[in-house]
């Protein structure tokens, strides 16, 4: 039986060849993420965030300092605009390849924590000091009683405007406690006198809608994680925005559709509108884009004076549950949040720090836009209502749906009511699942 013998002799060789192939692919797959080999025993961490170039420069400076203090650790950083970041992180997390340390939004925590992507900080208690954090604020990073994310800073929304242009127009400057109808009148006057829309069309922004909604005593979500508003509410909001857009008081659809979460692509950033509504810290990006500088004003209130805006933990830091270096990753988080030198470098680029002693210690040293943000927040202290609880998982997708449905309104392919019905239907489906 010569055939049999040849077969036998081949078998181990095939097995060996297969083993080599498989192990090659495994090796290639494994050496990527943790990258701990070849670098003379250096631990390599990946740290990602979203933001503008200003934040990038300061973050890099802080990271360089971290590497200097921890020579054994190397940190590879990457950043992008919010929209791109959100998609990339979801893809990485799904593939089990989440970065070791990552910046997270309020909206991401529930989804990522319940999906097992995030490390419970209790496992590395010794590497992170949370003594200087307000307990209430710290709790915003908890899911089912476990600390999956640490709030990094606090932020609030603002009407940010081109100081020189608004003053030149002669339109009365925004004041604290102004209402949405006063805001709308100001936008109309600005458009009339400057020939440019007063603001970015707020219709596309779920954040602006939330402020408006809270001003009417409602909320995006109820405590039991259902929708906190009706088709009628959303129809009213979109009718309001739609009318202003048709009048030319806010940006046209062609401008609004280019929004992608970066200040560079806002009408104000492109020099095509007088103001924008945004979170306070990222508004620092406008300094480089608006030649004569910008001013921060409070968001409009409800008609009866109910404030809609609130202080929100502006962003969080989390660590991947399957990181190869949990201790070092948490050390990086600790450094970014608690190190006095890091705080000096970072300033208010992610909002005002939540570490209370750092907040007090850096306040006098703040300059330029950091001081603007600090003063702006100080001016609102005590006037705002409590923040809502963290949004449910489905919200992350709904934010995009909100923009898309309003796109249909601003390009006049749907009436505000049709779009609102569309949104509410999808929202109910998202929140059920």
């Amino acid at each position: 039986m010569p055939g049999n013998r040849t077969r036998k002799s081949w078998r181990p060789r095939i097995a060996a060849a297969t083993a080599v192939l498989v192990s090659c692919s495994l090796l290639a797959g494994c050496s990527g993420p943790d990258g701990a080999g070849g670098d003379g025993g250096k631990v390599v961490l990946r740290y990602t965030w979203w933001g503008n170039p200003d934040r990038a420069a300061r973050t890099q400076e802080a990271v360089d300092l971290f590497e200097k203090k921890h020579p054994r650790i190397e940190v590879q950083t990457s950043f992008s605009g919010y929209d791109a970041y959100k998609q990339k992180l979801a893809t990485q997390a799904a593939g089990g390849d989440a970065p070791d340390a990552m910046q997270l939004d309020y909206r991401m925590i529930d989804q990522y924590a319940s999906g097992g992507v995030l490390l419970d900080f209790a496992e590395q208690r010794s590497a992170l000091d949370t003594g200087e954090f307000d307990a209430g604020l710290l709790a915003t990073g908890k899911v089912d009683g476990k600390q999956y994310a640490i709030p990094q800073a606090r932020g609030t929304e603002t009407v940010v405007y081109d100081t020189a242009q608004w003053k030149k127009s002669g339109v009365a400057l925004p004041r604290e406690g102004w209402t949405w109808s006063e805001w709308a009148d100001a936008m109309r006057e600005l458009a009339e006198r400057t020939g440019r829309p007063g603001a970015t069309d707020p219709g596309q922004s779920e954040d602006a809608f939330e402020v408006w909604l809270r001003g009417r005593g409602k909320s995006l979500y109820t405590e039991d994680r259902r929708l906190g508003f009706t088709v009628d509410d959303l129809t009213r909001w979109w009718t309001f925005a739609d009318k202003l857009r048709r009048e030319g008081a806010v940006s046209p659809a062609e401008q609004t559709t280019q929004l992608d979460g970066t200040v560079e692509n806002t009408p104000l950033g492109r020099g095509k509108a007088i103001s924008d509504s945004n979170w306070d810290a990222p508004s620092s990006g406008f300094v480089a884009l608006v030649p004569d500088g910008v001013t921060l004003a409070p968001m409009p209130s409800g008609e009866d004076g109910t404030p809609g805006q609130y202080f929100k933990p502006s962003m969080f830091m989390g660590v991947a549950a399957d990181t190869g270096h949990p201790k070092e990753s948490v050390q990086l988080v600790d450094f970014m949040l608690n190190d006095p030198d890091a705080a000096k470098i970072l300033g208010a680029t992610r909002g005002i720090p939540v570490n209370e002693s750092l907040r007090e210690s850096i306040a006098p040293g703040l300059k330029d836009f950091d001081k603007t943000v600090y003063d702006y927040q100080a001016s609102l202290e005590g006037d705002l209502d409590a923040p809502p609880q963290a949004p449910p998982s489905g919200d992350s997708a709904l934010q995009t749906t909100f923009q898309r449905d309003y796109d249909q309104v601003s390009y006049e392919r749907m009436s505000p009511r049709e779009a609102a019905e569309d949104y509410v239907t999808e929202a109910k489906a998202e929140l059920r699942s």
Binding site: T6, I14, A90, S396
Partner: protein, 313 residues
């Protein structure tokens, strides 16, 4: 093209299979060893993911928690409850109908021009082919967006406003990016044109046939297998268009869903909204539709594709 060359080659080859030769097993073993990278690759990278995706299409899977069986719900939801799904189907079909004929038409015209060219053919062939190499990249798509954005070069030159910001025009801007990458079909056309015997043209001109007549009665029929090949290939590619629309619309398929191509919506459902089951179901429907369209193309090809060898039989 595959049909013309493969058929005569494989038939005689198939006859040799039953013949037993000494050492056949050994040869078989060697064949498997040499094939093993491919077999492993196909199994691990193609067949396994396909099977998983088929399974996922019957589940609700958010990427983070274990999949949960829902039967046909993804499919019924897609066809009956999701207006955005149908908008993506509409955008994709419009795109296929616009981009494919334009691209093939341009490829053929340029190939004809190159064929009759005496000098510098090599240079122009490379020059026209270059976009095909570059065009699929993200960077070119971003350049495209900058060109057709409002305040971009095209806007400044033609004063037409930003194409990518207008729902009626954005799809056309994306199609133009595809049309511009006509190099690959052009090279294939050129090869096909060079296969046509010059005697046919000489005989036709002796008979007094005009250039146009020669084109219709000689070039088109002789080239029809190549036209068919390009048509099938480009149609399949057009159905799966993703990168240009993703970059041009900033990943959203905007403005107002006008460039929300099927694959873009699939990506959105899977990776933005975390509905992997739904996205898998969409992928399977796409596979079936592409299969059906290709089958229809093959069916109709019997009436218009002419194989020179048929005359010999």
């Amino acid at each position: 093209m595959t049909t013309t060359t493969d058929t005569p080659v494989t038939t005689p080859a198939a006859k040799t299979v039953p013949v037993k030769r000494p050492g056949g097993r050994r040869r078989e073993g060697a064949a498997w060893v040499f094939l093993s990278p491919w077999v492993l690759g196909a199994a691990v990278l193609t067949l396994l993911p396909m099977a998983v995706s088929l399974y996922l299409s019957f589940t609700d899977y958010d990427l983070f928690n274990p999949p949960h069986w829902v039967g046909l719900r993804n499919y019924t939801q897609m066809f009956t409850e999701d207006p955005r799904y149908w908008r993506s189907v509409g955008a994709t079909l419009t795109y296929v109908v616009i981009a494919v004929p334009l691209q093939l038409g341009l490829a053929l015209v340029v190939a004809l021009g190159l064929k009759s060219m005496r000098r510098g053919r090599g240079f122009y062939r490379s020059a026209f082919y270059a976009p095909s190499l570059l065009g699929a990249s993200m960077s070119i798509a971003l350049v495209w967006r900058a060109l057709f954005n409002d305040g971009g070069t095209v806007d400044n030159l033609l004063g037409t406003g930003g194409w990518v910001n207008r729902p009626g025009w954005a799809l056309f801007a994306v199609a133009l990016l595809t049309v511009w990458q006509f190099g690959a079909p052009m090279v294939i056309f050129l090869a096909g044109l060079q296969q046509i015997p010059t005697e046919l043209y000489e005989a036709a001109s002796v008979d007094g046939a005009s250039r146009w007549r020669q084109f219709l009665s000689i070039t088109v029929p002789m080239l029809s297998p190549v036209i068919f090949f390009n048509l099938v290939l480009q149609t399949i590619q057009a159905f799966q268009v993703f990168t240009p629309a993703f970059a041009v619309s900033g990943g959203k398929g905007g403005p107002a869903d006008s460039t929300l191509f099927y694959t873009l919506y699939l990506y959105d459902r899977g990776f933005v909204a975390s509905h992997m089951g739904y996205a898998s179901a969409m992928a399977w429907v796409l596979l079936i539709v592409i299969g059906a369209v290709t089958a229809v193309l093959f069916r109709t090809s019997r009436t218009w594709v002419f194989y020179a060898s048929e005359g010999d039989r």
